[in-house]
């Protein structure tokens, strides 16, 4: 089920009724991470165990003895989300509980930076986990410090406006793709049907699955709470954050053709970009164009390449989870 931008009506979403998250939690108003978890568990259901390293969700889930979710949660050390999910998986398999989904739910710092090693290890072993990185593009829980997911030009408390981040955002999806894992995808809280379809597809595949979820963060992006979904949608529609999926490290599917709204629309809603000059914005525009050329070239390459030979694992296809094409 691809998202057709013309037919897409955010007021008419078809989402599962199931709620695996309680209404009480400790997220800030307008938090994209809270919205993302709610959508994720609607997709995965309640036969799920969630592993959470140090990140905003370590707080959002509630202090002892509370819990904002209706499924078991294991809080783990900052840099261990992926191996911890693999450990839970191994224990469940040892006890014959093969049908329970194990979800690692980590922020960008815990994924792009400190958790990078353990994530690379887990996906290289093709451990049977779903790893979702909810990316708000900085260390928000510690008060907005630069991570390697912070985009070019952004203000954070460690990249002040006098010296904003000079480097591009690390391309985590491509790094995962190059591990030749069965399934890698990007997703957005503004496109919940697409996110839910991807999670269910991931659930149907044995092996390592990585989903990069873009989320808004009013506190860290210096944006208005009421614009959280709008900003997330603009991240996709400006082309900054493409929605696509990759199977077996080779076969790319671009899930949504953006409107390519001018990126200035996206930037002006966020105080973290307020200091940018016209030439900075032009640099960002040129990078979006180049990244899309690169992505389309990869998608084209994937169309002409045959499925990779063993030992790369083929995706277990189920009818309802066919990859979408536009």
């Amino acid at each position: 089920m691809a998202v057709d931008p013309k037919a897409y009506d955010p007021r008419n979403l078809h989402l599962p009724e199931l709620e695996v998250m309680h209404s009480g939690h400790l997220a800030c108003p307008g938090c994209g991470a809270a919205l993302g978890m709610r959508q994720a568990l609607k997709a995965l259901g309640d036969n799920t165990m969630v592993v959470i390293p140090a990140c905003c969700w370590a707080v959002i889930v509630g202090p002892y003895p509370y819990e904002a979710l209706k499924v078991p949660v294991l809080q783990v050390a900052f840099e261990t989300a992926a191996i911890s999910a693999a450990g839970v998986r191994a224990a469940l398999d040892a006890q014959g509980k093969h049908d329970t989904t194990v979800l690692a739910w980590a922020g960008d710092g815990g994924t792009f930076d400190i958790g990078f090693q353990s994530l690379s290890g887990a996906v290289e072993r093709n451990d049977d986990i779903i790893y979702v990185c909810y990316d708000n593009e900085a260390y928000m829980n510690t008060g907005i410090q630069r991570s390697s997911a912070t985009p070019y030009g952004a203000w954070t408390t460690t990249t002040p406006v006098e010296a904003p981040k000079a480097e591009p955002k690390k391309n985590m999806v491509e790094i995962m793709v190059e591990h030749r894992i069965p399934y890698t995808a990007t997703a957005s809280i503004a496109y919940p049907e697409d996110f839910i379809r991807k999670l269910r597809k991931a659930q149907s595949i044995r092996g390592a699955k990585f989903i990069h979820l873009w989320i808004s963060c009013p506190a860290g992006h210096k944006s208005e709470e009421r614009y959280s979904v709008k900003i997330a949608r603009l991240a996709v529609e400006t082309g900054i954050f493409p929605l696509y999926e990759v199977e077996n490290g080779v076969h790319y599917t671009i899930n949504h053709e953006p409107a390519f709204t001018d990126v200035a629309e996206y930037l002006r809603l966020q105080g973290r970009f307020r200091h940018l000059k016209d030439e900075d914005i032009e640099t960002i525009r040129r990078n979006i164009e180049w990244e899309w050329k690169r992505l389309r070239a990869k998608a084209e390459m994937g169309r002409t390449l045959p499925a990779p030979p063993p030992p790369v694992r083929a995706v277990v296809e189920e009818g309802e989870h066919e990859p979408s094409t536009e």
Partner: protein, 397 residues
């Protein structure tokens, strides 16, 4: 079944007999042959376990923590740098009250690189909440791994089973390997009171405010204290089943001993020979081998050392700035004795980085202690002068 195996092989057999369900491990000399043997046992179907071949020791312990949290019996092995890399998660495992068992092959910390034995790696984990058992023989290793799972699962604290690099890890000895049925009767399947459970969902490890944190830590302390009795009980029960009982510490020829040597691990085997020799020569020496280091058996030490004339503690470790670590702890325990029962106590630091501790060394230490010729509270044994003449000459030239 009797077999001639290495200390590392004894660990693997103990883990197999304990029916570990998840092994999460990373290679490091001199531990590596433990996990090689376990990998073979899993591959050949002798052990029905999931083996996660992780990318670091940090992940090795993280994998054990997660697996144990989900209700599986979990094991890993490491040494020195690997144990140090785990340190954050060593705290985590104990704080989460998980009955993980870790075999640590004592190896000296770098720099300079050393693969040989000393105890600073495991003793640096002293204040984490883990229990620690120091083994003297391969037989004790296989027996202690099995006991460690039982005690850990009773008191909900993890255990480090410690063996010396090479002197034990790579030395072949005759070992009685228990039958599986015997171990199954001794060690029931793991049943944790709290774990990840779909029927009773809970969040484990959540943020704890100052009004509750201390209570969790107090419970860890109470569990450590309770564990002293559990180690004794489990050691007795193992003795009834196998004829090999174990205690918190082991006495050797302490009857009538006026000078008692305290040491741990393989140095104790050497010390036995020396004690026999000196007793034959009419010198009233005895030996106490430290086995369980955490929880610390302070009462047992007071009972066996109180009223002696002299105690000499041999440490294959050093708390830089304040004695050897066993020395510190034993001295602190003896301080609670009435003044008249307090022995004169001296410490010797020897054998760091795998340097041999020979029978002659131990006889010389004991003789000097007996004759009152160890003036300092702690003596560094068999070392070049602090101003190394060879190095000094090379620097000058």
């Amino acid at each position: 079944m009797r077999k001639v195996i290495k200390g590392n092989g004894a660990v693997a057999h103990g883990v197999r007999l304990a029916r570990a369900q998840v092994i999460s491990a990373y290679p490091i000399t001199p531990q590596t042959s433990i996990i090689e043997e376990l990998a073979s046992m899993v591959a050949e179907g002798e052990l029905d376990a999931r083996f996660i071949k992780v990318e670091s020791e940090h992940s090795a312990m993280a994998g054990c923590i997660a697996a144990s949290s989900a209700g599986a019996r979990a094991f890993t092995a490491t040494s020195a740098q690997g144990l140090a890399l785990m340190h954050e998660l060593i705290h985590w495992a104990a704080g989460a009250r998980l009955p993980i068992v870790l075999a640590n092959v004592n190896r000296a910390m770098a720099p300079g690189w050393s693969i040989w034995t000393d105890q600073n790696d495991s003793l640096s984990q002293r204040d984490t909440g883990w229990m620690q058992v120091y083994c003297e023989s391969s037989q004790e290793v296989v027996d202690s791994v099995i006991q460690a799972f039982k005690v850990s699962e009773r008191v909900l604290l993890p255990t480090i089973v410690v063996l010396d690099a090479f002197f034990l890890s790579h030395t072949y000895e005759d070992v009685e390997i228990p039958e599986q049925e015997l171990v199954d009767g001794f060690l029931p399947p793991l049943e944790l009171p709290q774990k990840l459970d779909l029927e009773h969902p809970a969040a484990l490890g959540n943020l704890v405010f100052p009004d509750r944190y201390m209570e969790f830590r107090r419970k860890m302390e109470l569990a450590q204290q309770h564990a002293l009795g559990v180690w004794e009980e489990v050691g007795r029960e193992w003795g009834e089943l196998t004829g090999r009982p174990y205690g918190l510490l082991e006495e050797y020829r302490t009857d009538g001993a006026e000078l008692v040597l305290v040491c741990a691990a393989t140095a104790a085997s050497t010390a036995r020979v020396v004690v026999d020799r000196m007793r034959d020569a009419g010198i009233p020496v005895g030996l106490v081998r430290l086995r369980v280091f955490r929880p610390f058996p302070a009462d047992a030490f007071r009972a066996v050392l109180g009223g002696r004339r002299k105690v000499l503690v041999l440490d294959r470790n050093c708390s830089f700035g304040h004695h050897g670590i066993f020395h510190q702890e034993i001295k602190s325990a003896l301080f609670e004795l009435p003044a008249a029962e307090q022995p004169e106590i001296r410490g010797v630091i020897a054998g760091l980085g795998g340097r041999d501790i020979t029978p002659e060394d131990i006889e010389d230490m004991l003789t000097r202690a007996w004759e009152g010729r160890l003036e300092e509270a702690t003596t560094w044994w068999d070392v070049l002068p602090a101003e190394d003449p060879v190095r000094a000459a090379s620097v000058r030239s």
